[in-house]
Amino acid sequence: MALIRKSKQFKWHRKHLLGLRELSAEEITYILDTAKGFEQVSTRSVKKAPPLRGKVVVNLFFEDSTRTRISFSLAASRLSADIIEFTKKLSSVSKGETLLDTAKNLEAMGIDIVVVRHSAGGASRFLSKNMNACVINAGDGFCEHPTQGLLDVYTIRKIKGSLEGLKIAIVGDIAHSRVARSDMWAMTKLGAEVTFVGPPTLMPAEVGRLPVKVSYSLDEVIEKIDVINMLRIQFERLGGNPFPSIREYSHYFGMTVERMKRAKPDIMVMHPGPINRGLEMESEVADGRNSVILEQVTNGLAVRMAVLFLVNQAAAQSE
């Protein structure tokens, strides 16, 4: 199949994609290259390719999601897989069926790939240890969201050519953000310099041990950066009162038209969505010419096709 570019000697061997922390730069690049090959499938008149024909993909979502779930469904269907949607809101105290039992039951029906989103960090890793099926992490607590990290670096690479030496700011609630973590691993492995920006109350413990710089002032970094990724303030995850008011948060950390004027003219403005307009970002910025927010969504599809394709291939080879 011409879709896959032959990368020198490299062979993808992972049947699970759980996080980007354990991936090498070479592996990440390989996924991005693979995704590039899949991009054109979505632009053809017949938007389908056959590699997952006869395979069953389950979207196992224990948390609300619209775009990630739809993106995975669409990616799987473009690869000709059968898709089962399983969504269940789960509270940590609910005494119902355990995650493991749910997964085992699905596995007993003969599924091949599980795409899982769960509120507990490590949930996908836990499943991967207890199942034969391929497991793809679609977000676990505030640990990782690897396909988001991949689509972010894919988008940056596509526009900037490379991440090497780029200065990237990730702004907002770093402590509770799986996107910030996956972005950090992917971006730094590909040679970018990442700065976490936000109030100290939204920084994770021992942030100084992560491969990033930390700043409490967006104004201090805004002029120097090539890419800015604005995280969504996730009110559902915030405990207590980490900042006094939305007003004050926006004042210090919002991406405003004013701040845009001080930024490099070619700054890339990113957001994993959904946007709280007027809170972390003004609409003029979100919809402005530097915004790549919708391209991120488009690229997410190609990246997820690549991931589904690769884990399935690795599983087939290990049999």
Binding site: L99, A120, G122, A123, F126, N130, G141, P204, L210, G239
Partner: protein, 425 residues
């Protein structure tokens, strides 16, 4: 006269009696009759050549889950595990279901223990009703029924006014108050130590400050009340420093540490193995070093397991939702040897003191020594036996033990309780 029992030629270590020499121990009528060179023909002779003969080991922090969670552990199964591990006395925590908070509850534990006839089972009572931290439980009646002390273990008493009241009230009785130091407001919903690993694993962290803030507060209350206070399972560098200062100030403060806070760090959680989920959580390597140093400095009074059994089904779930607890009673001695004897932090008398004399003193029982006339609780240890920890051999009902497969040294040979051999390897 009951049968006599003579333990010959062991290395007898009795720190309370100032003994560390090769000699014999004669037991008669369930009591220690003589320690020295005994030339007497008796019915039962145990050859302890090459072995250590110590006062029966004491673990002042176990959860036997009865009443309420008998599927995890019972007083019978826990007691069997205890004697197999050389413990002739254990102290149960009151956070059962229902909570141990009345004299009837205390008597229930004692009755179950009598029926089992393995190890001495003591229990603590709750400080507050239902461990709710609001109303005082009937400490007086519980103390009269034999509660050795009081704690809301599993949680700390949050309200300083309630804690102050508990301490003031306890002054009326000769009891001690123990605390699981954790300020819940700081702790939040943390499930592991707050730090680099909680950050990269995406799990809510338990800040060491939660432990230190409550310990600091309690120490201020002890200055006012001067009641005997025991900090349970301390785990942080800051807590060690608070204890150091409290002891310097001659406050009636004691503390204990667990095997896991000596041997494991938060890095162990990296694979989300729920066997490493425990509260207080596994801390950083720096904290482990601080605790070991504190032991070397003589600041830590007792070693205690915080044996916390859980069902397998409660371990095979997400780390975030799994219950806290490590079941380590049955391999405790070998773990302490690995953590403290092997690196030369303690010598044998130093270790035995922290497992006998000191814990007996904390709970106020006339044990932990081989003094003449004392009840004959004796543990015989083979310090050189090498083996692998195998959880499938445990007498405990639970297997939530992260030490499975560890190569260790030091094994309990025999456990004698009240002059009766209750366990033989």
């Amino acid at each position: 006269m009951d049968s006599e029992l003579l333990i010959k030629n062991g290395r007898v270590i009795d720190t309370a009696g100032g003994i560390d020499k090769k000699c014999d121990v004669l037991i008669a009528d369930g009591k220690i009759a003589e320690v020295g060179v005994v030339n007497k023909t008796v019915q039962t002779v145990i050859d302890a050549e090459g072995k250590l003969v110590t006062p029966g080991l004491i673990d002042i922090h176990v959860h036997f889950r009865e009443p309420g969670d008998e599927e995890e552990e019972t007083i019978a199964s826990g007691s069997m595990a205890a004697v197999a591990a050389g413990f002739t006395s254990v102290v149960c925590m009151p956070n059962t279901n229902p909570v141990i908070e009345t004299e009837t509850d205390i008597e229930y534990i004692h009755r179950k223990a009598r029926q089992t006839r393995k190890t001495h089972v003591y229990t603590m009572g709750a400080i507050t009703k239902g461990l709710q931290g609001v109303e005082l439980a009937e400490m007086g009646f519980m103390a009269e029924a034999g509660a050795v002390g009081f704690t809301d273990d599993g949680r700390g008493v949050q309200d300083p006014a309630v804690m102050l009241r508990a301490l003031k009230y306890a002054a009326m009785f000769d009891v001690f108050i123990a605390q699981h130091c954790q300020d819940d407001a700081i702790a939040g919903k943390g499930v592991m130590n707050s730090g680099y690993y909680s950050t990269i694993l995406g799990l809510p962290g338990l800040d060491p400050l939660a432990e230190e803030a409550m310990l600091w507060r309690d120490i201020q209350l002890i200055k006012k009340t001067n009641v005997r206070y025991h900090a349970q399972h301390i785990s942080t560098t800051g807590a060690v420093e608070l204890i150091r200062q409290a002891k310097k100030d001659s406050l009636p403060v004691t503390c204990e540490v667990t095997p896991h806070h000596l041997l494991l760090t938060d890095e162990c959680c990296a694979e989300y193995d729920t066997n490493y989920k425990v509260n207080p959580p596994l801390r950083s390597a720096k904290d482990v070093e601080a605790i070991k140093q504190a032991i070397a400095d003589g600041l830590i009074d007792a070693l205690a397991t915080d044996h916390a059994p859980h069902l397998q089904s409660e371990r095979e779930i997400e780390f975030l939702t799994a219950p806290f607890g490590i079941a380590s009673l049955e391999c405790a001695l070998a773990l302490y040897i690995k953590a403290l004897i092997e690196p030369g932090i303690l010598d044998w008398p130093g270790l035995i003191r922290m497992m006998t004399e000191k814990p007996a003193k904390i709970i106020g029982v006339d044990k932990g020594t081989l003094g003449k006339g004392k009840q004959a609780d004796v543990t015989i240890i083979d310090p050189n036996a090498e083996y692998k920890i195998d959880v499938s051999t445990f007498h405990s009902k639970s297997r939530n033990c992260p030490y499975h497969g560890w190569k260790v040294k030091g094994k309990v040979e025999k456990t004698i309780v009240g002059g009766e051999i209750r366990f033989e390897a």
